[in-house]
Symmetry: C2
Subunit: 447 residues, 2 copies
């Protein structure tokens, strides 16, 4: 249904059928229109621009991918773009500008009014993944001295230009943020009372340099509709709305899952093959290095393997299980770090808990593996060796799975990035070492 | 700062210092109070209940963990609980009831008023992870025939009892949902106009049985403040607010990361050891099975390894790299599925893209591995063998990493659950088979 409408929209642009275009544009959401436009030629994009009101064009631009934004903006001349930007909220303008080539951006900024320029340059100055980079300056802030009636009049006046209307930010005489008022309270309170009487002074605020991931944790924890971004002197700089927070959460989650899997940055299954390979190959090369380290460990024991060939088939069981168990701990720990529940300085003693888990799991899995191997090879000693090696490697696995991401985090690296490589390198090298080392010790009983 | 306040709160309960408790409770958010209470004894919880107003108690209960909810509810007698529930929103009551032991729940439902009971039982009837299970029935729905003035009066009257005030749902004479109105438009439109003139008819709705993950995708895609849950006949059953959606997104993400790492269900690093092991050991046992399958593959080639011991140390390089490359594809695919961007029926042809990626990456990594191995072992043929085996296993890896989660999804299994086990089993078994099989073929050149 949705797809058919999108195709019809593209078709209307091809045929330059303005009537059909307008009917469809009214039915579709801007994000759906933006998606349809990604499949259009430059000529069709031009038709889209000529058919659209600036309001509609601006809405679609807000939802467009970086590439489509650039294509849509390039069609227009400078004054048209500036006109278009007046219909967009300032954080979206800052984002759109941020995506443009530097020359184009500078030229555009030159065309803008001084008042707008100041806000935009401030927004552009913050890092893209900080609170300042995702905040908007379109909010309602009122003095606590206003009466409810005056407040309501102000809201009626400013409302259409803001992103959030449900939460009103309350300032004192010194223009410092002192709290919020709920629109529902304003609507239901006696007209003559003052705003300060319904101000909620329990405030959660962030600084513009706060990381967006931390902002999203606060918004989600306290069920906020919007969070205030303030300066060190408690002046309101902007707000971040909950719908932008959802985008942050989804983006950070994508990053975590891809990084855990050894893919850096954004990747989708419909990009170019070259793009995918460029994202993946660096990790594979690092992995190749650690794989050779593990292989060299085995090489040290080649003379033992030559005497007991059965060791060759069994040794990967120890390393494989170590990798699996370590990844279990790793995923729990990385998630806990992302949710702000775990820190090295506060929780390092929980490593004893992980050691115990490794010991117990190693004993269970090692015992089973030992019994199977005894029946397969026919020598009880090889069962004992895999039992002991498994316990050792499982303890290493759960301890490393716990400590590696926390240590990375402690030194301000992303714990999702690289954790699993360090982990597998450790469990592979030590797994081979434990198993083949024990086999060397007990060699007389194996032959 | 926050932690100190929490400790002071617990302390005030210990010393039964009502004044200090009330001061702190005013400063803290309900979720912070709930967290502090988890560390309290039954006696302190009783003090908390006696110190709190039912409103405050209800707010804390809404934010409490399942265990704390149960402990707080058990302190009260039935009529007190029912009284408490009247201060909570109905979806939270339904959640709290859902956590109670079945007998207690039945007794409580018996105590309730018929009108409330009907709504509650309806909410309880939906699965916890469906739209019906997370919706609330506290919304504002108005007839499209009302004038703006009448609408505003109604909103003033109903407002304090609802969860969302910014979006008003508009019904026609037949009580069907026909659109939404923005409170900001209501506030700024001429009093005498009718609601139907400002109704936005672009509606995104879901059915009560829609999976919560799908609901969250829609809310995030269309930047909604609330989404309507309707019956097949388009009657409004409830709404889901954006703050509940954030919880869903975070919860689903935790599930995905843990399941990808081979941990089923919720696990944190501060639970009991037994609890952790119970979550992890089933996957380890399945992994043990596949590890033995891989080991048996190696056993088939023991006579070759006995002749060329160097094979033993190199074979894990092929399987290890296959596992890594496969996990890269896997993480991209699982994320794309979760974001609703990928489906087997529509995207199966992209498997050719993955085959190409596997081929190219295999050639690059295989070439490097071949050169290193040639210098290490001193035989060019072993370099050729690892080059070919690597290409083969990398193609298997990226193809399986692409297809396994999509096939699981197609048969309604969670793609994050079990994907990596199937994947590693495939790349381990085939990796050993390719490498040792080729070594067998080229044996005369190896000795």
């Amino acid at each position: 249904m949705l797809n058919r409408m999108k195709h019809a929209l593209i078709d209307s642009l091809k045929r330059k059928d303005k009537l059909q275009f307008e009917t469809l544009a009214k039915e579709l959401y801007p994000i759906d229109v933006a998606e349809a436009l990604t499949k259009c030629s430059e000529k069709e994009l031009k038709t889209f621009v000529s058919f659209s009101t600036p309001e509609f064009h601006a809405k679609v631009l807000e939802q467009a991918s970086d590439r489509l934004q650039l294509r849509l903006i390039r069609i227009l001349d400078y004054s048209e773009i500036v006109h278009l930007f007046t219909h967009m909220s300032r954080d979206d303008v800052a984002d759109a500008l941020g995506n443009l080539p530097i020359n184009l951006r500078k030229d555009l900024l030159n065309e803008m009014k001084d008042s707008e320029l100041a806000t935009l340059e401030e927004l552009l100055g913050y890092s893209r993944d900080s609170a300042g980079g995702i905040m908007t300056t379109e909010y309602i802030a009122l003095s606590h001295e206003l009466s409810i009636k005056e407040a309501l009049d102000k809201i009626r006046e400013i409302g259409p230009k803001t992103e959030v209307i449900e939460t009103i930010f309350i300032l004192n005489q010194k223009n410092e943020l002192i709290g919020t008022a709920d629109l529902r309270d304003i609507l239901t309170t006696d007209d003559t009372k003052s705003l300060s009487q319904i101000t909620n002074e329990n405030l959660v605020t962030v600084f513009p340099e706060t990381d967006q991931e931390k902002v999203s944790l606060l918004v989600s924890r306290y069920d906020l509709k919007a969070i205030a971004v303030v300066s060190q002197s408690n002046r309101l700089l902007g707000i971040i709305t909950v719908d932008d927070i959802i985008d942050v959460i989804v983006e950070e989650q994508t990053e975590d899952i891809l990084r855990l899997g050894g893919v850096s940055g954004q990747e989708t299954t419909d990009g170019t093959i070259f793009h995918s390979i460029r994202r993946r190959i660096p990790w594979l090369l690092i992995n190749l290095g650690t794989a050779f380290l593990a292989a060299f460990t085995v090489t040290m024991f080649e003379s033992v393997i030559a005497q007991v060939v059965a060791l060759a088939s069994s040794m990967s069981i120890v390393t494989g299980m170590g990798g699996n168990a370590g990844n279990q701990t790793l995923s729990v720990v990385i998630r806990s770090i992302a949710l702000g529940e775990l820190e090295l300085s506060k929780n390092w003693h929980r490593v004893f808990r992980e050691i115990t888990i490794g010991l117990i799991q190693g004993a269970i899995v090692g015992f089973l593996a030992g019994v199977i191997l005894y029946f397969k090879v026919g020598n009880p000693m090889i069962g004992v060796i895999i039992f002991l090696a498994m316990i050792g490697n499982m303890i290493v696995a759960s301890t490393s799975g716990f400590l590696i991401p926390l240590v990375l985090k402690r030194f301000n690296f992303d714990p999702a990035l690289g954790s699993s490589i360090f982990l597998t390198a450790t469990t592979d090298i030590l797994g081979f070492f434990f198993f083949l080392g024990l086999a060397t010790l007990f060699l007389p009983w194996l032959i």
